[in-house]
Symmetry: C2
Subunit: 363 residues, 2 copies
């Protein structure tokens, strides 16, 4: 292997790929990245066996070849080099990296010892709009579970219904759903949420389409020069839609910034009660007030002006409430519920493509 690449391209590719390389696993070679020439391009790839990321960069290839080198060292090293041309040359298993000022050798391991990267040979292909999907991931992933005891809840559910594509996540305490686009496809995929966190990072300011290809076992997301492959989660996703009420006994509309502030302040006093705060909607004073459950520390009531349909009380986990408010855009938000123990819905006022549901606590 002998080739030239620019520091900028190589550093960017290593930045995208090296994160999935794993130094703590049982297979030491998974801490490495694979460098391999493919025609006039260099591929940089890494995998943790669940997720594989491959980045293609243009290069002047003089001799073909492949090698694996420690991901962390290679990334730190290349990102410290000045911008400009870098020469990579393989001599046995030693990768020589040369620039004007720097002359380095990194000891590698043969690419033959690296696990075979997953690939999809016979799958269904379709496209996703990058910007809308990115926004959706930012709004929905927060509700996914990280508890491996119920694997289906650690997934992002990408599915079509009535000619529309939705993404959804729930950890059984809260639920988020976003409508992404109209489509004629029939899609029903359960993708690990942590792989989607990686995809979110790869998306950056990408404005083009994401090419998706899936079979029964795996799914591939192609974003410009980067490919992410991940396994699919087996199992049936819960019928979450039956949890979302369509009508509400009471609704308050208030400034999102106000709601965030009064929730933050109240949450400080709710540490001993596991974050539990009680929200009171008062149509007479036209105020939403949040009360922290009295504790050893003290107590707090904070209020904000609101438009309110009916009186009502509900007790929520303040962290979930802050997470939900963090996913909403716009100046005004609605909080809607029926009874003290029924699901509470948060929405951007006058926007119907995103719904966030929090299950109340017993107060």
């Amino acid at each position: 292997m002998k080739l030239q690449v620019t520091q900028e391209n190589l550093s960017k590719a290593l930045g995208n790929v090296a994160r999935v390389a794993n130094t703590r696993g049982t297979l030491p070679i998974l801490a490495n990245v694979v460098l391999r020439t493919v025609g006039t391009r260099l591929t940089i790839a890494a995998t943790n066996l669940d997720i594989a990321i491959t980045h293609y960069i243009g290069s002047k290839v003089a001799e073909e070849g492949s090698i694996t080198v420690p991901a962390r060292l290679m990334q730190d090293f290349v990102s410290s080099l000045p911008s400009g041309v870098i020469e990579l040359k393989l001599d046995d298993y030693k990768l020589h990296i040369t620039t004007d000022q720097y002359n380095s050798v990194i000891n590698g391991i043969s690419a033959d010892e690296f696990p075979v990267m997953p690939a999809i040979t016979d799958g269904t292909s379709w496209t996703l709009p990058a910007k809308a999907f990115k926004k959706g991931l930012q709004q929905v992933l927060v509700a996914a579970s990280s508890d491996e005891a119920r694997p289906v809840l650690t997934g992002l559910y990408i599915h079509t219904e009535g000619g529309k594509l939705y993404i959804a996540a729930t950890d059984s305490y809260r639920l988020a759903e976003k409508e992404i686009m109209a489509t004629k496809e029939e899609i029903n995929l359960l993708v690990p949420a942590n792989a989607m966190q990686e995809l979110l990072r790869l998306l950056g300011d990408q404005d083009t389409d994401i090419e998706v290809t899936h079979d029964d076992q795996q799914v591939l997301f192609k974003v410009g020069e980067v490919e992410l492959v991940t396994r699919l989660i087996e199992g049936k996703y819960p019928d979450y839609r039956k949890l979302v009420p369509s009508e509400f006994a009471t609704t308050a509309t208030l400034k999102r910034a106000d709601f965030v502030n009064i929730t933050k302040v109240s949450s400080l006093f709710a540490r001993e009660s596991a974050g539990s705060v009680t929200i009171h909607l008062d149509p007479e004073t036209k105020q939403v007030s949040i009360r922290s459950i009295a504790s050893q520390l003290g107590e707090n009531t904070a209020s904000a002006d609101a438009v309110i349909t009916n009186e009502g009380d509900i007790t929520l986990n303040s962290r979930y409430l802050l997470d939900a408010l963090g996913t909403l855009g716009g100046a005004d938000v609605d909080i809607c519920f029926n009874g003290k123990l029924e699901p509470c819905v948060l929405r951007e006022t006058k926007a119907s493509d995103y719904t966030h549901v929090i299950m109340p606590l017993k107060s």
Copy 2:
């Protein structure tokens, strides 16, 4: 106690003071801040028994009084409030905090149970220029030890010699000294370096003088509305000056940015050798090159253009070298030494008020 303060002043004071409040100690009340009216002012104070910080703020005092409340809660709470007037009112040991939108009660503990804050009644007073002292602290504190086994080395040595005030620190592997100002005082103080880290934080963009008062046991630094008192360290500071050579067999002058870059890159390959890198000065090629000791990972040589008086080699800990380069200003730096095992001096080219010495490693 009943008074009004602005959120801005109270939040700033709590930010300065609450850091020294300690939630992990054996005396739970040290996790609290003391609020106490003094005439028309409110004092906010905390101590970890080594360091005490007191901040004075203007307030409209309607009723005098004092209380202690949990520092962390009070700080998080006040910093979350909107700017404007806050009313504090003590009812038994409950501190009521009220604004337009917020109505809170924090449960306090009587200020009588708080340890007596250290005070200096009969000391010597002098002044320090805030900007020069701040710059000096930033340059010198990095060389102080954090190893309590040798208490004197955990101190910042503030002392006069030949009509000048110097500050110095050493952990026996490296040493930094800065000339602060000309003075007629005779000063010889050994102040805990961690107290000086706190002072550095308090200094901010302060441009006025720091008022210093000390006796045999303690020293007080007064910066605007804030006072920091700390104990002095007992013991004789080592005669560090005899370690600093005055003449050098070889000197290289190079761009500081280049020196930082080649050291950073080389340090990546020096992880297995505890950071050890070898610097080679070559007057013929007019280059300073840094070589990482060959290891399992690989090896690296990086070089930069320099003006060099004589050939020479020295092996240093790359972390200490990066720390030293981080404390130097200016575009160009000098590295000077005599033999492979003698102290290595780093200086900003043409600046004589700051000296950084690193002891070499055996290579």
